[in-house]
């Protein structure tokens, strides 16, 4: 019989062969038991097909989204236009004169991607504007960027000429350019802006920090109808002060001069000059370290003007009266230091004598008699130990002695060993003049009533009266004689400090200052004049101290700004002891 035998294929033999147990375990672990891997594989390939379908579908969907989305770079251009055209409010002085304003200017830009022939574009552009740097231009136009500035703020004529050239990929944007009609006059007060019209110094920066920048970002600051900012500054007073300071700098060959006119009742700064200054229309000069604002950014040992604080502290304590005396018979020895007077009298001095003769020994003994802690607390109360913050972003921290001992009190009593910003010292002196109110100075308009709300009573009114007397007395018979201007009843205190050079006091590098109050019987304004390293002039007999330069400069300034400030000259007034002191006795 022809029996047909089914011959198993080799595969079937292999499959039929029982697996060793450990293989079976592994198989089970890997694939699971009793699974048809053939069918499973098919199902899983099906899953892969599904996965790929979804992925390609997503890609196609995204493509469709892009296709229907509106072209975006048009929108982007619009935003750029907004950002560029940031408008700023005008800045006015207290009488409405414009200190800063915006002017619309075209700016030239290019889109290098759209430029067809870079060489041709360069040739045409430099023909119209020869001051463009060819290499820089080539670099910018040859870049891969979508937008480059070629020249900011070009003239209308240039714009027209370039427009006529018809270079593809070159265009104009209208920008606001900040203009300062008064040039350098108020530079340190208003500061300046960068090429994008963002404030980077002075009140311009303060404007931005006050939310103008946020407005810009939100796109709301494009409107030109922004409310102008009114300053306390009076451009006329500022001009007179600046002119006299410049004259003084030439005359005394000083490194720098500075001055402030402060309204003692409202804390308004009517004028502030720190000169050399710069033209905010060309702010590159501002980077020169010689042109810093010495009144807020610099800190100085103010010298004898600090005796105002020492005496005010003594009188305010109630323990010392105008009749109290201090031993100035010989120099004050403290350790290896000896404190001397510039004009030694060699006798006991009353408080007015200490002030008018500017006795270092007297001031030091006065401060010591009240103690280190009281001294420190008093100066703190008058705002001399913390950074003074005004609207100006530029400010400096006072430099305090690391450990405040008796010797520090001795020297600080006559204005050495504590460096403060001059504006800060002026604020303290104003408190001794205006009835005892410490009012933070401001560059913005402020009424005396508003000032009273932010001001703090730090001295007794009686102390202030006595201080007015002493200031006036000093202008009548003391170191301030040269500042007196007939008719304005000035009071004032000089200060001469040796500057520290390399850790030592330099005899020939002085900082002189003068603080004048006018009128002394009813103080309205306080004037600070400061000279940095003045030299002796032909008519000063070899002296370079404050009485010989700062005081006469103050006198000239007062003669000019007095009428501008609306002060009526009064002649033939009685002397300080009869006019001021008598009223002090009456009020008691």
């Amino acid at each position: 019989m022809d029996e047909q035998v089914e011959i198993p294929s080799p595969l079937e033999i292999a499959a039929a062969r029982p697996m060793p147990w450990h293989r079976r375990v592994i198989q089970g672990l890997l694939y699971g038991r009793n699974v048809d891997r053939h069918r499973k594989a098919k199902a899983r390939i099906g899953l892969a097909i599904l996965g790929f379908s979804i992925v390609y579908m997503i890609i196609a969907a995204k493509l469709v989204v892009f296709a229907v989305a509106p072209e975006s770079h048009v929108a982007r251009r619009g935003r750029a236009q907004d950002a560029v055209a940031t408008a700023r409010p005008d800045i006015l002085d207290r009488r409405g004169r414009i200190l800063a304003t915006d002017v619309k200017m075209p700016s030239l830009f290019a889109e290098p991607r759209r430029i067809i022939d870079v060489d041709e574009a360069i040739e045409l552009l430099t023909a119209v504007m020869p001051d463009l740097d060819t290499n820089e231009l080539r670099e910018r136009l040859g870049s891969k960027r979508g937008f480059v500035w070629l020249k900011r703020e070009i003239t209308a004529k240039q714009q027209q000429e370039i427009h006529r050239l018809g270079i593809p990929g070159v265009g104009f944007l209208t920008e606001n350019k900040r203009v300062y009609p008064s040039g350098p006059e108020v530079s340190h007060v208003i500061g300046h802006v960068n090429i994008d019209n963002q404030g980077i110094a002075g009140l311009e920066k303060w404007l931005d920090s006050r939310g103008l920048a946020d407005l810009h970002l939100a796109g709301f600051a494009t409107d030109r109808q922004q409310k102008p900012i009114e300053l306390a500054v009076d451009l006329a007073v500022q001009h007179a002060l600046r002119e006299e300071l410049m004259a003084a700098r030439t005359k005394f060959k000083a490194k720098a001069t500075a001055g402030v006119v402060l309204d003692v009742k409202s804390g308004e700064i009517l004028a502030m000059v720190s000169e050399p200054d710069y033209d905010p229309n060309n702010p590159r000069e501002a980077l020169d370290p010689d042109r810093i604002n010495r009144l807020t950014t610099g800190v100085y040992e103010m010298g004898s003007t600090f005796k105002v604080f020492t005496v005010a502290m003594a009188l305010d304590s109630g323990k010392i009266s105008l009749a109290s005396t201090f031993d100035a018979r010989q120099s004050l020895r403290y350790g290896r230091f000896a404190i001397k007077d510039d004009h030694p009298l060699g006798r006991m001095l009353t408080v007015p004598e200490v002030f008018t003769y500017s006795s270092n020994i007297g001031a030091a003994r006065m401060a010591l008699s009240l103690g280190v802690d009281n001294h420190r607390a008093f100066l703190g109360r008058l705002g001399q130990l913390n950074r003074l913050r005004t609207e100006l972003p530029e400010s400096a921290e006072p430099i305090l002695p690391r450990r405040w001992g008796e010797l520090n009190t001795v020297t600080i009593a006559f204005g050495h060993g504590l460096s403060v910003a001059p504006l800060q010292a002026l604020m303290g002196v104003a408190a001794t003049m205006n009835g005892g109110y410490l009012i933070p100075p401001t560059f913005l308009k402020r009424s005396p009533e508003e000032a009273m709300q932010v001001g703090k009573q730090v001295l007794k009114p009686d102390t202030s009266l006595k201080m007015r007397y002493l200031m006036r007395l000093n202008a009548e018979i003391g170191t301030g004689k040269k500042a007196d201007v007939n008719g304005y009843y000035i009071g004032g205190k000089t200060g001469t400090a040796e500057k520290v050079v390399g850790g030592r006091y330099a005899k020939n590098k002085l900082l002189t200052d003068f603080m004048a109050v006018l009128p002394a019987d009813d103080p309205k304004y306080l004037l600070l004049i400061m000279l940095d390293e003045p030299q002796a002039a032909p008519d000063t007999h070899g002296f370079a101290t404050a009485g010989w330069n700062a005081a006469p400069t103050a006198s000239k300034v007062i003669a000019r700004v007095g009428p501008l400030l609306g002060l009526e000259p009064r002649f033939d007034l009685p002397t300080a002891d009869r006019l001021i002191l008598a009223s002090a006795r009456e009020s008691r």
């Binding site: 594989a41 892969a48 390609y56 975006s72």
Partner: protein
């Protein structure tokens, strides 16, 4: 003409090969030439070469690529395995050699010069690796007593090590993904697939933690403000400028800006000039190729052919999907070429080799032939 009556090798090839798949691949190649016309002249101009330098080279690579593809598609599965083994061994040797002799370009050693020709061995490695892995997985099902899975794992780790040493994370990722997908298809329990995913996540985290530029790219993707997203921004710009129908040939501008306009970002550059409609057609072509090949794999009764077809299709599909997704800013930037469209000689020939094998494996085959080769699985056994 080609008549079924004649039994020449060409005729039998013609009637068994998947002609639609072949047509789709040829159309993609053609699209590549067209896009190259748009995308590569600015690159050539930047390098100071003739405007059509890269176009000419592209065409010069396409012709041998087509030849390789057709020639490979004539091979039988057995021949494919042998050829792949040879290519695999050869590219491993070259890969090791690049570590020592390769020119360092942009911080990686991926290229080696042989007889004046720049070769990127990792490109040739990929299809060969897929074939070998598929064979091992198929063997593991057929002959359970051979530790094929272990071999497959060792193969993967070895290849990954070499790629990471170059370093070429894009290719490493691709290879690992395809291996993982094949592993999944080989019928592993889901718990192992989950474990694999976990390992991949750990690897990705490791790369994120140790390799600064990977971390930067991922961060940039998640938070575009954190760094320079120039290329991706430009690519998006390109799509938007193009709109549905494009700005017309030669009207594109983004290509002048994008450094990789002829390679990784050719898709975006093409969109600007030829429009999103063309992009959709290209997506459809890729989708068609991949899905048709996978469907074929699903039907295929031969385990090796099934895995190999699926593997090659997925390699092709993942590469195209990743490139397009990067162009569209759907995933973090990762350098990957768009198959047959991006410029690149090694990539082109290697793809042709892979696609040729794909065509060979998807050829209709009489069942008898399979049995004859001893490849058909015992039905109903598990």
């Amino acid at each position: 003409m080609v008549s079924r009556a004649q039994r020449t090798p060409f005729v039998s090839w013609w009637w068994t090969v998947d002609r639609l798949l072949l047509a789709a691949v040829l159309i993609v190649m053609l699209a590549g030439v067209v896009l190259s016309l748009a995308a590569s002249p600015p690159v050539a101009a930047r390098l100071g070469l003739d405007a059509f330098y890269f176009v000419n080279r592209h065409v010069m690579y396409i012709l041998p690529a087509i030849a390789v593809m057709i020639a490979t598609s004539f091979l039988s599965p057995r021949q494919i395995r042998r050829l792949s083994l040879a290519v695999f061994v050869g590219s491993i040797i070259l890969l090791v050699a690049t570590l020592f002799f390769g020119a360092e370009i942009k911080g990686a050693r991926r290229w080696i010069v042989i007889l004046g020709v720049n070769i990127q061995p990792s490109e040739f490695l990929k299809p060969a690796f897929v074939i070998l892995t598929s064979w091992l997985f198929a063997e593991s099902a057929r002959k359970p007593d051979v530790p094929a899975n272990t071999f497959a794992l060792m193969l993967l780790l070895g290849v990954l090590t070499l790629l990471v040493l170059q370093p070429d994370f894009g290719q490493a990722m691709l290879v690992a993904l395809v291996w993982g997908a094949l592993f999944f298809m080989a019928g592993m329990r889901l718990i192992w697939v989950a474990g694999l995913l976990g390992a991949a996540a750990v690897g990705l985290l490791g790369a994120y933690a140790t390799i600064p530029h990977v971390a930067r790219r991922i961060k940039r993707f998640l938070d575009p403000a954190s760094g320079d997203t120039f290329q991706v921004d430009m690519a998006i710009d390109s799509f938007m400028r193009g709109g549905w129908f494009g700005r017309g040939p030669g009207e594109g501008t983004v290509k002048r800006v994008l450094p990789d306009s002829h390679a990784d970002f050719v898709f975006a550059v093409g969109a600007e000039e030829f429009g999103i409609v063309l992009c959709l057609i290209i997506v459809a072509l890729f989708a068609f190729i991949v899905i048709r090949a996978l469907t074929n794999a699903m039907r295929n009764e031969d385990a090796f052919a099934r895995f190999a077809t699926a593997g090659l299709a997925m390699l092709f599909g993942m590469q195209s999907a990743i490139n397009m997704a990067v162009n569209l800013a759907l995933i973090p930037a990762k350098g990957m070429t768009l198959p047959f469209i991006s410029y690149g000689g090694s990539s082109m020939i290697s793809l042709a080799f892979g696609t040729g094998m794909l065509l060979a494996l998807t050829r209709e085959r009489p069942k008898a032939e399979l049995v004859g080769e001893g490849l058909i699985l015992a039905p109903g056994r598990a």
